[in-house]
Amino acid sequence: MTTFPILTVITFLPLLAGAAIFLYGARVARWLALAGSLATLAVSVPLYLHFDKTSTGLQFVESVPWIPSWNVEYTMGIDGISLPFIFLSTVVSVLWVGASWTAVQVRVREFYAALLLAETAMIGLFAATTVFLFYVFWELMIVPMFLLIGVWGGPRRIHAAIKFLLFTLAGSVLMLVGLITLLRTSGTLDFEALAAMRPSAQLQSWLFVAFTAAFAVKVPMFPVHTWLPDAHTEAPTAGSVILAGILLKMGGYGLLRIALPILPDAVRLFRTPMLALSALAIVYGAYVTLAQTDVKRLIAYSSISHMGFVTLGIFTLNRNGVEGAILQMVNHGIVTGALFLCVGMIYERTHTREIVAYGGVAKLAPVYSTFLALFCLAAAGLPGLNSFVGEFLIISGAFDTRPWYGVMAVWGVALGTTYILWLYYRVALGEVKPELRALRLELDLREVATLAPMAALALTIGLYPESVLSFLRVSVEQLLVASAAQVGVAGGM
């Protein structure tokens, strides 16, 4: 137990900054949002410095009674699985404030307040150690996302926002049912206590269906993925970065935090269909991505394929697969978030997302094209860049468990390389489109400063994956041992 409630401070500091924006008005909204997100990032630094990588338990734990009649406590704590996501949330939050600096000109105050509320929800979810608190932040996240898409989105924003809301709420209702059932049968909602109790196999199956329905929508898994392309396409750039960077990871994190340790018998029972759906998402998502003509829609569908890798890794139930899945979530947050930033930056100048409207951008904007090339290569899984390590671990985990799913994953990688390099070819190479000549496409200093940290992260994790994997190792082992679900060969990188 720590004396300074660092996790609570990190969680609610953005919310305080959001409240300050309402007090001080639109004039300073951008600066307050930047200060709030930078302060949150700064306060989170001790988490990485003082995190004990050899410890199996939760660290920086804070606990106070909340609702005694339900045996619900306000408890926060982190382990090696949650720490990378908190890091990702705090870093990406600074960048999306920077990315929206000139793009958002209406309701500026409300926009930044919504962004900061989203940051609070994300960090809170990753720091929660009870199902109740997890659910509170899960639901809280829906509010700012709905507003970001519905108020600051594109022409079909209302349709996209309502679709997002209905899909996520449908899943959330089932999670609520699961939460109430867990409370009634176990008398606690604490993650560690629930993992030690282990409900009956039949109850686990029902609970798995309820919780996984919510997680599958968020990931999103086939066939409940159709809200994502609309949401991504219509959301403002910051909204797309939140979606790709963090929101999708909440589903994968939920599977790791709730399904694997608390419902291990059900995980084994449903393992084959989950692996099949994951492999299907990888290949199906990649094929549908190939046929897209809208840049944002293309990256959205590629997310379905990439997140298929994540669920495949999780349900391999071996160390390589699970470590790879977590790393892949972080990598996807960095790379796809950066790709959406790139799309947003050029969209601000051209006001079109149609791929055919582009061509020869490399001649007009070499710095922009260099960043785009780096992120496209990272998304393609080029060795030396971050996604390669995650995909490698997942595929090796899949081959250790069910080789045919490994084959499908490799097929997905090949298709992924095709669509992303083809996208780069059509946008950046070839003849310059006459309509683009009159535009100033090159990035300014603020935009370079926004993309540079993402590029640095992609390179750092790619060249030295231990920078993330060393945090995960003990927690993943603990997760697999505690859930008694380890299957196949547990090998390291």
Binding site: K163, F222, P223, Y287, V288
Partner: protein
């Protein structure tokens, strides 16, 4: 060789991609949207039941209580 790669790329890869894109839009997404529409229509029909006639509400409530009692007594 170039012709072969064109056939593989255009017909097989992009062709399958286009087919699946249409299935995703007109099949999977349409099914999800259809479920939403159906729910909306059922909800609209249910709102028609709110007639404002207090006697009708009382009758429905009484029927519900009777059904509940029957369930408790006879264990139906």
């Amino acid at each position: 060789m170039s012709r072969l790669s064109d056939v593989v790329m255009q017909r097989l890869v992009l062709g399958v991609g286009a087919q699946l894109r249409d299935i995703d839009l007109r099949g999977v997404d349409a099914m999800m949207v259809g479920i939403g529409r159906l729910t909306e229509e059922v909800s609209c029909d249910l709102t028609l039941a709110m007639s404002g006639h207090v006697q009708r509400y009382a009758l429905i409530m009484a029927a519900g209580i009777l059904a509940g009692v029957a369930l408790a007594v006879f264990g139906l």
